[in-house]
């Protein structure tokens, strides 16, 4: 069974997403900050990481993605952003600065999220 690590400081979002994932047969690990996320990553060895951008610092998601890819080169990362709407920011995938496999906007429909996850896991 594939294990997903969700790293996001929005607790409501985390519980909603983990419900969806669990009911579709995924194992789920949760972290609410970059530091916690790195610890859980080492403990739980997830197959995919769902990663928020702005947590304690507005760039935590990028920093974490960089550290993750340094540890496990081909770990799939799906970055979830809500900052597009709040700050008008627009980010690009970039192997150096934003080493993620895909982006999705929050809020996200469960079926789209599942589709994306399966796609990334299947590659």
């Amino acid at each position: 069974m594939a294990k997903i690590l969700i790293v996001d400081d929005d607790k409501d979002f985390v519980s909603a997403v983990s419900l969806v994932l669990k009911s579709n047969g995924f194992d789920v690990a949760i972290a609410n900050s970059r530091q916690e996320g790195m610890e859980k990553f080492d403990e739980d060895n997830p197959d995919l990481v769902l990663l928020d951008v702005m947590m304690d610092e507005p760039d935590d998601g990028f920093v974490m993605a960089q550290s993750l890819k340094k540890k496990v080169k081909d770990i799939p990362i799906l970055m979830l952003t809500s900052i597009g709407q709040v700050t008008g920011m627009d980010f690009d995938k970039d192997s150096e600065m934003v080493p993620v496999d895909d982006f999705e906007q929050k809020p996200i429909m469960p079926n789209i999220l599942l589709e994306k996850i399966n796609q990334l896991l299947g590659k």
Binding site: P58, D59, F62, Q66, M89, D90, D92, D94, E96
Partner: protein
């Protein structure tokens, strides 16, 4: 009446377009050069500039009228004398200098002599507060002017400075250096090391160092660089904020001149890290004398491939820097106003978000950093994060360069760690008997003796490094008045609380001076001050009442119930 040949104007504009580009962002430098030629901006010149850049003439007039260094009405004198009237120079006796200048020239402030030789004006802080009273003549600065010196300076002017004992460049007075100022680094050393690192490693090193912006707001530099590096956009920009307009700040003047290559290393490292190919140094108009010197430094770096294409053999890393001059508007130090100004508009702050890291110069991702921040970044890359963060406090890492002026025995530039107590600092500068200290310039706070055990750090009293010491005899109302006059003059006028609120506070100070302010009304003024803080659009308005409010809070017995001298 000067007769101006339209065709000639057009030829000049065409040449300038070749130099500065043909889009709107070329407007300011073109106007600056044209003003140099015509000694003001006659209508014809503004109209032709507008046509040449494809914008409406009213737009050009709007820009020219915004900046105090542009003249649209009448020809200015061959020598424009600008006397600083901001707080440190005010306390150092600028009024006597002003009087003597009027006597020597036979004109009042705001006027030009009949022979067209001199224009006399007031200006705000010139970045020489430790050596005041200060004045500026065209691109030349003069320090420690007294009435007698003022008359000598005028005499030198009349001889077109053929012979003058005054130094061409007033040296900065560094009183205490530390690890930053004594870095001992050679030009390009830090850059070479950076180019051997990955972009994310550079930003991670800056993150580990804990560096926060040295311009005053203290935003983490690594976050800014990371966000700009991650932002979508082919053209990214690096901007050095060398506007140094905060009254009481003069350390950037020294850093720009004495650590030029380290600054340029820092900007180039920033460009590499975020993926920028163009940079600007936005240099305040008051530091015009430095422009040639900086251009020379840029030229040398181009010839050594420290700027240009494939820098130091790094394939695909292209970066160049241009200097853009400000024109005497304090608000242009605010980063979004600065960007507006670079784009050729009035320096009116933008709403945020969006932020410059995403939507900066011409809508592209842009980092704007203070001079000192870029220098610190270069040193951190060269010497490591720990070298930097072994000094300072938990939340305010590193050493900081301070500009210290006012009533103390040893004013000047000092390097202290963040977290230094105000009382320790006063001891170092010979200001132990101070009655009050203004921390963070006009936009900062005025603290009294009861708070001298507080520390200077972002978590206590934050500051871009401007410290103004007020001795036991200082009239605190005079201080409040000076700061408010500054803000009334420098407000860009875009939003009501700042534009209309500050004149009301100033009026209140006048009432206090005349002993005609009730406590009830004073409380109203305090409420107004808080509204201005909360409702203003940019940092200028938000911080403009700080000094007034803290003076009212800390010195009430001194400011209430005054009996005017005349009575």
């Amino acid at each position: 009446m000067q007769i101006i040949d339209r065709q000639k104007v057009n030829e000049q504009i065409n040449d300038l377009k070749k130099k500065y580009g043909d889009d709107r962002s070329a407007l300011m430098p073109i106007l600056q050069d044209l003003q140099e030629i015509y000694e003001y901006l006659p209508n014809v010149v503004m109209q032709e500039t507008a046509h040449a850049l494809g914008i409406h003439p009213v737009e050009v007039e709007g820009v020219a009228s915004f900046y105090s260094f542009f003249r649209t009405k009448e020809k200015q004198g061959k020598y424009v004398i600008r006397l600083c009237r901001t707080i440190s120079c005010d306390l150092a006796g600028k009024s006597n200098v002003a009087r003597q200048l009027e006597n020597e020239l036979g004109v009042k402030f705001g006027e030009t002599t009949k022979d067209g030789k001199f224009t006399l004006e007031y200006t705000n802080c010139l970045g020489m507060c430790d050596q005041g009273p200060a004045l500026m003549i065209n691109d030349r600065l003069f320090a420690k002017v007294d009435p007698e010196k003022a008359s000598q300076i005028i005499a030198d002017c009349r001889r077109d400075f053929l012979k003058s004992d005054f130094p061409k460049v007033v040296p900065s007075d560094v009183k205490k250096a530390g690890p930053i100022l004594d870095h001992g680094l050679k030009p390009a050393e830090a850059l070479k090391k950076a180019l051997g690192m990955s972009r994310s490693d550079i930003i991670n090193t800056i993150r580990e160092s804990g560096l926060k912006g040295r311009g005053g707001a203290g935003f983490p530099t690594a976050v800014k660089w990371q966000l700009a590096g991650a932002a979508k956009g082919k053209n990214k920009y690096v901007v050095c904020n060398a506007d140094e307009g905060e009254p009481g700040t003069f350390k950037d003047r020294m850093l720009l001149y004495e650590h030029t290559d380290i600054l340029l290393d820092g900007m180039t490292i920033g460009a590499y890290a975020i993926g920028a190919s163009k940079g600007f140094i936005y240099l305040r108009g008051e530091y015009l004398y430095m422009k040639k010197y900086l251009e020379e430094a840029l030229k040398n770096r181009r010839s050594e491939n420290l700027l240009g294409k494939n820098i130091l053999g790094k394939d695909g890393f292209n970066f160049n820097i241009q200097i853009r001059m400000g024109a005497g508007a304090y608000v242009c130090g605010e980063e979004t106003a600065l960007i507006e100004s670079l784009e050729g508009y009035r320096g009116e702050p933008r709403n945020r978000p969006p932020f410059p890291v995403d939507t900066g110069f011409q809508g592209n991702p842009t980092i704007v950093n203070n001079v000192e921040t870029f220098i610190d970044a270069a040193l951190i890359i060269s010497k490591g994060a720990e070298w930097f963060n072994e000094h300072g406090t938990e939340k305010s890492k590193g050493m900081k360069i301070f500009s210290i002026s006012g009533d103390c025995r040893h004013p000047g530039i000092y390097e202290f760690p963040f977290g230094i107590k105000v009382s320790e600092l006063l001891k170092e500068v010979g200001g132990e008997d101070a009655k009050a200290v203004q921390i963070g310039g006009a936009s900062g706070h005025c603290i009294s003796r009861k708070d001298f055990n507080r520390t200077i750090a972002f978590e206590d009293i934050g500051s871009g490094g401007s410290i103004i010491v007020f001795g036991p005899d200082t009239d605190m109302l005079q201080v409040a008045r000076n700061f408010l006059e500054f803000f009334v003059e420098e407000s860009c006028g875009q939003c009501t609380p700042c534009r209309d609120g500050n004149p009301k506070l100033l009026e209140g100070v006048e009432m206090l001076e005349n002993g005609r302010c009730s406590v009830a009304y004073l409380n109203e003024l305090k409420k107004l001050g808080e509204t201005i803080q909360n409702a203003s659009k940019c940092g200028l308005g938000q911080s403009s009442p700080n000094a007034f409010l803290s003076i009212v809070d800390n010195f009430k017995p001194e400011i209430l119930g005054r009996v005017p001298e005349a009575e």
